[in-house]
């Protein structure tokens, strides 16, 4: 009985400590949660981007331009305007892909492409401020300061890994400046979000 009582007080003590830490975090510390809280988009927002794709099959990167749009909670749109018109719309579970060059419009389920899902979630969770979901899929590492940070996402899921080695976001305060995606074979795409575009 004595033993039981002592155990009880130890647990209670741990509880106090944990609550203290949590309280401290929500205050001023620079954490992933804080960062995602800053990134989180409240209303509908669009931003122009320029993307460079580097591939071992290519001698120079392919440059494409367009607009990224996010409509909370889960609609994400990537509109490519150059070199040719393309449009990806992710809404819930469904991805609609339109390509002018191929003259096709196709809707698939994210479930058909587990790789694509992890990819999409990186953006969606960040923009929606859903840290829990982000951590579900990625191992999340943050470096730097509030004024200049990087956020490294490495997928847990093995199927996610087959297309994404890591995703590296960089930025300042609540603004994302670049998104670099590296695939396991070393190919990568670097997307620069252009400031000044309407948010």
């Amino acid at each position: 009985m004595t033993f039981g009582n002592r155990l009880g007080s130890v647990i209670a003590g741990c509880g106090f400590v944990l609550v203290g830490v949590a309280h401290n975090a929500s205050g001023s510390a620079w954490t992933v949660e804080t960062l995602i809280g800053l990134i989180k988009v409240q209303g509908e927002s669009s931003v122009a981007f320029e993307e460079a794709t580097y591939s071992s099959l290519l001698t120079e990167p392919i440059i494409s331009r367009g607009v990224l749009r996010f409509v909370p909670p889960d609609k994400l749109e990537k509109i490519v305007t150059a070199p040719s018109h393309e449009r990806y719309v992710v809404e819930g579970d469904r991805v609609t892909f339109e390509s002018e060059r191929r003259g096709i419009k196709r809707t698939v389920s994210l479930d058909d492409y587990p790789a694509l899902r992890s990819f999409v979630e990186a953006f969606r969770s960040s923009l929606a401020g859903d840290v829990v979901q982000l951590r579900n899929i990625y191992e999340v590492t943050m470096e730097g300061t509030r004024g200049r940070w990087t956020l490294l996402l490495r997928p847990h899921e093995s199927s996610g890994k087959s297309v994404v080695d890591y995703i590296l976001l960089s930025g300042a305060e609540g603004r994302i400046a670049t998104i670099a995606i590296r695939s396991p074979d070393g190919d990568r795409a670097v997307m620069t979000l252009l400031p000044g575009a309407p948010r």
């Binding site: 591939s55 099959l57 290519l58 392919i62 490519v80 479930d111 058909d112 087959s162 297309v163």
Partner: protein, 774 residues
């Protein structure tokens, strides 16, 4: 030893030998397919066979139901993994897999022979340029890592074009990567068994295992999650189980009732045992005869045959009811034999008509009944009397009671009135007189069929009903015809006349087409030149497409892809069901989906004017087949009745007696038809065949009613015997009428009502003095 003892000994030996044969040699089948007609033309036969044993028959549709969509999706994943591991299936699909391969290599290596996009300009500078730009888009897309590897050897994207053509359209929606119903209440799976759909035993084992696997998954899941299963195999198993259960249950119930009733009527165990002698002999002889003729006996034949041979119980009852203290059993038998003989002969003739029905179920029944009846009669005539102990006398029957039936004879006008009434009923009834659908005869419950329709709808795996059949001398002929057909089908699909089709040449193009594609593959130098031109200004690494140049060059000399190449792949079974050889010639079947207007489509196909291609609506085909057999049976019954009348007239040496004997039968037939119709059923093949039985029974009753009988006691015995006979018959068939198997129900109802009417009408038509007391 007396002659009598000798016959008795011989009899015992024969019975022992027969029992041994029946126990060791007779094979009882219960697959419904064994009883179905085989078709009247060679093509029909081939088709029905193919449909029964083909791909459509081997598909099972599974659904996991009763949980949250996420739970169902997870269950579906685990379930499909475990099912795949059993090795019972050539295919387990739940939506989660792409076409995953051994096949992948096959397609990749033969892509320039298989791809429908290879034509004259496939490798021109402009085509190549377009293709290369698309590959750049691919590299920019999020899925680049998945396609990147194929780009150097397949820059024109043939591989993925073939994959998408092979994976079919019309697929269900998905949730978390697996197929679900539209309302997300079910996760859907499609499996293809290695065992044929009609192989009910193999199917039953597989279903059992599927359920076990599902239950073991369920351990960690809410108990509300359950499994639904449908498909031809499920139907086959249910039909088989229903038939086995019912045949056993019904024949036991009928036998018990008859024996109890016999005992109650005569209060003599000896009599009951004696009456079993002709019955067992008849059943055994019938079984052995069917086995000898067909090589197997069907469960339905056996069950119904035994019930039907319950009729032969009448023979010993006639003997017993004429036994009296004045004569020995053999002497009585000798006396009543002429009357019995006519009854036996005419009944046997009636059933012999079934031999010409051309319908396996009925032919078996005909053999069983004819042999059984003749044997039972012979045994009653020559063997049974020897076993009747000298001291045996049935319970005395009060001689006075028949006079109470006297008023019956004043009711003669009732018969024509009843016939008129019955005909009027048939004329004005809303229930169709004839059963038009083969499905109406299926022992599978309506609930199961409903589930099947629903799941097929959800899975986009419709029941195969419409087919194009393409015939040719060689496989190459058939493939070329099929390609010509595709040219015509494609616009029909695009315009929505048909929903879709599955054509063998989608997987295996004809040799001619493959060679044609080869001829469009440019020489190395030309291709190199076009490629260089196309690559101008594009950032691809120099020399990247060397594998492409090599692949095209080797494809130019590659031997055409043959059927053999698909061996041991997931497509082997599909290919085998889409095209097959039969007696030296080849047939391709093209399952068609969602035909809105069948007549219009039939006209279109007829307009093609190609002899090698026929459109088949399987449902109409089998219903038509059913109708043809029914009409044939009807004619047979009428002819049987005529032959019986002639035999009767000769046997009785009088035409005048025909009236009182035949009119009860005709009256009973009309009433039976009306009663069946009033109960909301339509007459099927099996009702009609049972009219033969009714005719046989009616004859038997009428003959004995009209038999000149000397003494009052003799009359009362005869009448009592007739009542017992007919009551046993009604009991037996009344039991059968309670069956859930439509065929048995039809037979039972017809015979029970029929035998009652026959008895009543024969009683009414009896000669005036029959019931009168002296």
């Amino acid at each position: 030893m007396s002659r009598g003892h000798g016959i008795a000994m011989l009899w015992v030996l024969l019975m022992a030998a027969g029992m041994w044969l029946a126990a060791t040699q007779v094979a009882v089948h219960s697959e419904l397919a064994d009883l179905l007609p085989e078709g009247t033309t060679a093509t029909q036969r081939l088709l029905l066979n193919q449909v029964r044993s083909g791909l459509a028959g081997r598909l099972l549709l599974l659904a996991v139901e009763g949980g949250a969509p996420d739970e169902l999706a997870q269950a579906s994943r685990e379930f499909s993994e475990r099912l795949r591991a059993t090795g019972h299936f050539t295919l387990v699909e739940n939506g989660a897999q792409d076409v995953r391969f051994r096949e992948g290599d096959l397609i990749f290596e033969s892509r320039y022979l298989l791809s429908p996009t290879i034509g004259r300009d496939a490798f021109s500078r402009d085509s190549l340029r377009r293709a290369l730009e698309q590959r750049l888009d691919d590299l920019r897309s999020p899925l680049a890592p998945l396609v990147k590897a194929t780009i150097p050897a397949d820059p024109t994207g043939e591989f993925f074009a073939i994959l998408s053509a092979w994976s079919g359209d019309d697929r269900p929606e998905k949730h978390r990567g697996v197929w679900v119903s539209k309302d997300r209440s079910k996760a859907l799976l499609l499996v293809e068994t290695k065992a044929a759909g009609f192989d009910a035993d193999a199917q039953a084992t597989i279903h059992q295992e599927i359920r076990q696997i599902f239950d073991s998954l369920l351990a960690a899941r809410p108990p509300s999650v359950h499994l639904l299963m449908t498909g031809a195999g499920v139907f086959a198993v249910e039909a088989k189980q229903t038939i086995e259960k019912e045949v056993w249950r019904l024949s036991t119930a009928a036998a018990a009732l008859v024996l109890l009733f016999l005992f109650a009527s005569y209060r003599s165990i000896t009599l009951v045992l004696l009456s079993l002698i002709p019955l067992t002999a008849g059943v055994m002889a019938g079984m052995l005869a069917v086995q000898g003729w067909f090589g197997f006996i069907h469960g339905i034949t056996l069950g119904f045959g035994i019930t039907l041979l319950g009729v032969v119980d009448d023979y010993p009852i006639h003997l017993f009811s004429h036994l009296s203290s004045r004569g020995s059993a053999p002497a009585v038998m000798h006396e009543i034999w002429p009357t019995m003989r006519i009854g036996v002969l005419t009944t046997a003739i009636g059933f012999a008509a079934l031999l010409f029905a051309g319908f396996p179920a009925l032919t078996q029944l005909g053999v069983f009944a004819v042999i059984g009846i003749l044997t039972a009669a012979a045994v009653t005539r020559w063997v049974l009397p020897l076993f009747v102990p000298d001291w045996f006398l049935p319970r005395p029957i009060s001689p006075a009671w028949p006079s109470r039936l006297e008023p019956l004879t004043r009711m003669k006008p009732v018969i024509p009135a009843v016939i008129v009434l019955a005909c009027a009923t048939l004329l004005w009834s809303h229930t169709p007189l004839w059963e038009a659908e083969l499905a109406g005869l299926s022992p599978v419950s309506e609930a199961k069929r409903q589930l099947d329709r629903q799941m097929r709808e959800e899975l986009g795996a419709p029941d195969v009903r419409d087919l194009l059949v393409i015939e040719g001398q060689t496989d190459e002929n058939v493939l070329q015809y099929a390609e010509a057909v595709e040219v015509k089908l494609k616009p029909l699909r695009d315009s929505g006349v048909i929903g879709g089709y599955d054509l063998v040449t989608n997987y295996l193009p004809s040799r001619r087409t493959q060679q044609d594609r080869q001829s469009h593959l440019p020489e190395q130098s030309v291709l190199m030149h076009n490629l260089d031109q196309a690559l101008k200004g594009l950032p691809f690494t120099p020399g990247l497409f060397r594998p492409f140049l090599a692949a095209v060059e080797s494809a130019r000399r590659q031997p055409p892809l043959e059927r053999k190449a698909f061996q041991d792949t997931a497509f082997e079974a599909r290919l085998a069901s889409l095209m097959f050889e039969h007696r030296g010639s080849w047939t391709a079947v093209v399952p068609l989906r969602r035909i809105e207007d069948r007549r219009q489509f039939a006209d279109i196909v007829a307009g093609w004017n190609v002899a090698a291609v026929t459109y088949v609506d399987l449902k109409q085909e089998s219903n038509g087949l059913m109708r043809a057999y029914r009409d044939r049976t009807f004619v047979i019954v009428v002819c049987g009745l005529l032959v019986i009348s002639i035999v009767l007239a000769i046997g009785l040496r009088s035409f005048n007696q025909l009236g009182p004997i035949l009119s009860p039968i005709l009256g009973a037939s009309a009433v039976v038809a009306a009663v069946v119709n009033l109960s909301g059923e339509s007459l099927s093949l099996f009702h009609i065949a049972t009219f033969l039985l009714v005719i046989g029974l009616g004859l038997d009753y009428a003959l004995f009613f009209n038999r000149p009988e000397g003494t009052e006691e003799g009359r009362s015995r005869t009448l009592y015997g007739l009542l017992v006979c007919s009551t046993t018959t009604m009991l037996v068939f009344g039991v059968l009428a309670g069956s859930s198997i439509p065929v048995l129900h039809a037979i039972g109802m017809t015979a029970a009502v029929g035998s009652f009417c026959c008895l009543l009408f024969a009683g009414i038509m009896a000669k005036k003095g029959l019931y009168a007391s002296a």
